[in-house]
Symmetry: C2
């Protein structure tokens, strides 16, 4: 089956199923070899279709970014879900309803919030699992591992409440996205794991809290997970240009590419205007070889896409316009009416903007 490029009139997000399945298989293998639970984050693809490719690799437990995303995947038969976003008290009722359909884990960062939740959750017929969100260096949210008083308060609320099952500690070492190269990722990942291990006795002897780590860079690079029990990477399902710069993957691992129609050319600036802007790619920006770029450029064929073209990148974006800087050879050969491919800086946001995937044979995969 081949991509039916002639039928593409406007930006379309091409999905390379073979690469995507290879990315899933590789990460599942890494988890198996290291003896950790593989609970992939589904926020990157947000797709029931792609979720089934994970199921074919034996995955049964997943991570999501929101309560509606949990509901979406429950509809497709997923029954073991961690909502990896700190508890939003306005969603207590919805969480309660979802616990009746699946084993749900919630995330807390403050004892006071969990107390309020517990009051409303009282009398529920099924329990919720509780993870403590832990900050091991990203400094976005979560308790520092040294904040033992607050950690003990949360564990003690769970002990007193049979509907709240204390599960363990969860961190997202998002600082690895700023790494440049495998050694830096490895160092950051190890440091995050070291901090998580200080928590293995938390909750007292015999408590055995589960330690869960998550970022794609360290999950892609580390040879073992040093005593962690679970990994939750998400972006690896597609990877993207940012991850090649970080050092998590090679360009050949990127599994999505935005096909865009060429609209006009400006010889003076050696620029190509495409139909494809911030509403398709998102405004995620990356420093790359001295430029600030919104994506790399590739040629498309019915079989997929080529490696990026030397010196070609998305230089600026408006709402629907993309301006591409190209080399002389590309400028000479690309014509209005052609398609070009853009490898996205951040595949999660591009997938969210596009809302569906195009496969060979003009099949599509859903996005929530």
């Amino acid at each position: 089956m081949r991509f039916e490029l002639d039928r593409i009139k406007r930006p379309a997000l091409l999905l390379d199923e073979a690469r995507c399945r290879a990315n899933i298989r590789n990460m599942a293998d890494r988890a198996r070899k290291s003896g950790v639970i593989f609970r992939p984050h589904f926020k990157t693809h947000q797709s029931k279709n792609i979720g089934r490719w994970f199921r074919e690799e034996g995955v049964t437990a997943i991570t999501v970014a929101s309560v509606p995303m949990a509901a979406y995947f429950i509809e497709d038969g997923w029954h073991d879900i961690t909502i990896a976003f700190p508890l939003n008290l306005r969603e207590t009722d919805e969480i309660r309803r979802l616990t009746l359909k699946a084993d749900l884990n919630i995330l807390v960062t403050q004892a006071g919030t969990l107390e309020e939740f517990a009051r409303e959750f009282k009398g529920n017929s099924r329990p919720a699992g509780v993870f403590i969100k832990t900050d091991t260096g990203y400094h976005r949210t979560g308790l520092l591992p040294s904040d033992i008083p607050e950690i003990e308060k949360i564990i003690s609320i769970c002990r007193k409440n049979p509907l709240l099952i204390f599960k363990g500690f969860l961190t997202h070492a998002g600082q690895t996205y700023l790494a440049r190269g495998r050694e830096e990722i490895e160092a950051m990942g190890r440091e995050s794991i070291r901090q998580m291990k200080t928590l293995q006795e938390a909750g007292g002897r015999g408590s055995h809290p589960l330690l869960s780590v998550g970022d794609t860079p360290s999950c892609s690079i580390l040879g073992d997970f040093g005593g962690m029990h679970e990994i939750r990477p998400g972006n690896f399902v597609f990877y993207d240009v940012m991850q090649t710069v970080t050092g998590s993957c090679s360009q050949g691992d990127i599994a999505v590419c935005l096909a865009v129609p060429v609209v006009s050319k400006d010889a003076g600036r050696r620029e190509i205007l495409v139909c494809g802007g911030a509403v398709h790619l998102s405004r995620e920006l990356l420093k790359w070889k001295g430029h600030s770029i919104f994506g790399l450029i590739t040629r498309l064929s019915p079989e997929g896409w080529d490696p990026p073209m030397e010196g070609c990148y998305v230089n600026s974006l408006s709402q629907e316009h993309g301006v591409i800087r190209v080399n002389y050879e590309a400028f000479a050969t690309v014509r209005p009416g052609d398609l070009l491919g853009i490898l996205p800086v951040h595949s999660c946001l591009t997938a969210q903007c596009m809302g569906s995937y195009l496969l060979p044979g003009s099949e599509t995969a859903d996005h929530m």
Copy 2:
């Protein structure tokens, strides 16, 4: 009618109908007083509901950013539409079908592209209007007013083809978005108009090309349009924080505000974490008082929102997380479970991300 804040569980884009209607009325008045055609750009709101508020102000001609957007508004009875995006040859068939339902103007930047279009458009039962996209300083796309040979080629293609009606010249002086203050906007707007006026004899004596200008900053500031025939502003329907910095509007003119649930607080960093990230606001960034911000913070009430709180802003965004820096007073009083309001940096992209509007009484307005 009041905003039913208690029913908001997740990010919701509040729309202040009175402010929005006032923005529409003011711009319609400016156009009337200056004797120019008011052809508002509907890409900002992309809403049939809001489009009807324009109709109530006497608007009959509109601008859109894409072919699907034209189709969307034709469904709601709009019959005079300029697609202000350079002609995408892959959409020729769809454009042909739409010309049967409405008076459609297309945009061209290259004679070669129009020639290819003309070949496929041959035999159509209805004509299309043709505007030449002109670059008066934004340098995104379009012909320089000095590029008379290419301009004459395009006009000559139209002369030979009864289905292509040459309408005139269209520019978007997007450089005004970089202005700081009314004087700079005025100077940039006047310079763009000066360049457009050099084209008033193009096409030969008696040709009377229509001159169309468009950006919200100059349309909001200029007292007259110096011989232009048409204005096409879009963003003014909502305005946003970027436009207050540019000098186009005051904070009290902003007509949309993202309501976000407060999730947790970090005393060490004096930061508040909200449910509301890049998938809700977009990643549009603005330099503001020495910070890079993604939005300003306000308190919500059932009547709407207050002026922004001093020294409070969205400091960073992940996919679903927003991190807000606040002052001492706000940190002390805001609690998990509360709602806060975020005035967006760029309302067009936030509206696109959110996909609908919330009005008082829990009514909603559509987004394409």
